[in-house]
């Protein structure tokens, strides 16, 4: 078992009553295949978010967003000083 997983189970045991811990354990054992699917989905979502943020932060997109902001400002507050 990895150190992080041990830490996770320690947190569960500290926060859940023995009865809740038993239910949690049953849930894991009975749904192990669904859990793998969930982990894959979760990992794909995190990846997607990370890539989206990285793309938005790229110089090309930042430049375009800056021009979008400028156009928005001119469309909505044409009298505003830049």
């Amino acid at each position: 078992m990895t150190e992080l997983l041990q830490q996770a189970f320690t947190i569960v045991s500290m926060n859940f009553s023995p009865k809740e811990q038993e239910r949690f354990a049953h849930l894991i054992i009975e749904n192990i295949s669904r859990l793998r699917e969930f982990l894959e989905e979760e990992s794909e979502e995190r990846n997607f978010d990370r890539i989206a943020v990285k793309t938005v932060k790229s110089p090309k997109i930042q430049n375009m967003l800056g021009r979008v902001a400028e156009k928005y400002r001119n469309r909505n507050y044409p009298g505003n000083p830049q």
């Binding site: 890539i51 989206a52 967003l65 902001a69």
Partner: protein, 136 residues
């Protein structure tokens, strides 16, 4: 006045998913987001500040009948809601993770951002590049 801007590029993306979602579904979903805020699985990915104008990039979920999707929108200064990208939850960028999945996702998002923002920038009254829907 808050408004949703559907660009020509986003309309093209939607056309590929026409069996699942249409423009009305997207505008209804964004209106719902404006009304109630984030729901499960939705989040603000980043907030970019350009002087006195902020641009938020937000990930939202949509479900219509049996189809589930996720989409990105840009929110300009809390007033203009600009859909950028959409895909199906179980599409090729969902569970079927291939060796080059990250590269494919990056190139697809980059293309969506570039084309949507270009539509916004090139829009004029004489040559409209997006359709506006007011949010009451």
């Amino acid at each position: 006045m808050k408004r949703i801007l559907i660009t020509g590029y986003f309309r093209k993306l939607l056309k590929k998913l026409r069996k699942h979602f249409d423009e009305q579904d997207i505008t209804d979903d964004i209106k719902e987001f404006v009304r109630i805020g984030f729901r499960k699985g939705e989040s603000r990915l980043t907030t970019e500040i350009f002087g006195d104008v902020t641009v938020e990039i937000v990930k939202l979920r949509i479900r219509v009948h049996n189809s589930a999707g996720r989409y990105l929108i840009g929110i300009i200064d809390g007033n203009e809601y600009l859909p950028i990208f959409i895909d199906l939850k179980t599409g090729c960028y969902g569970r079927n993770m291939s060796f080059n999945a990250d590269k494919k996702t990056a190139s697809m998002l980059e293309s969506a951002l570039e084309n949507t923002l270009a539509d916004y920038l090139e829009h004029t009254e004489e040559h409209p590049m997006f359709t506006e829907y007011l949010i009451e």
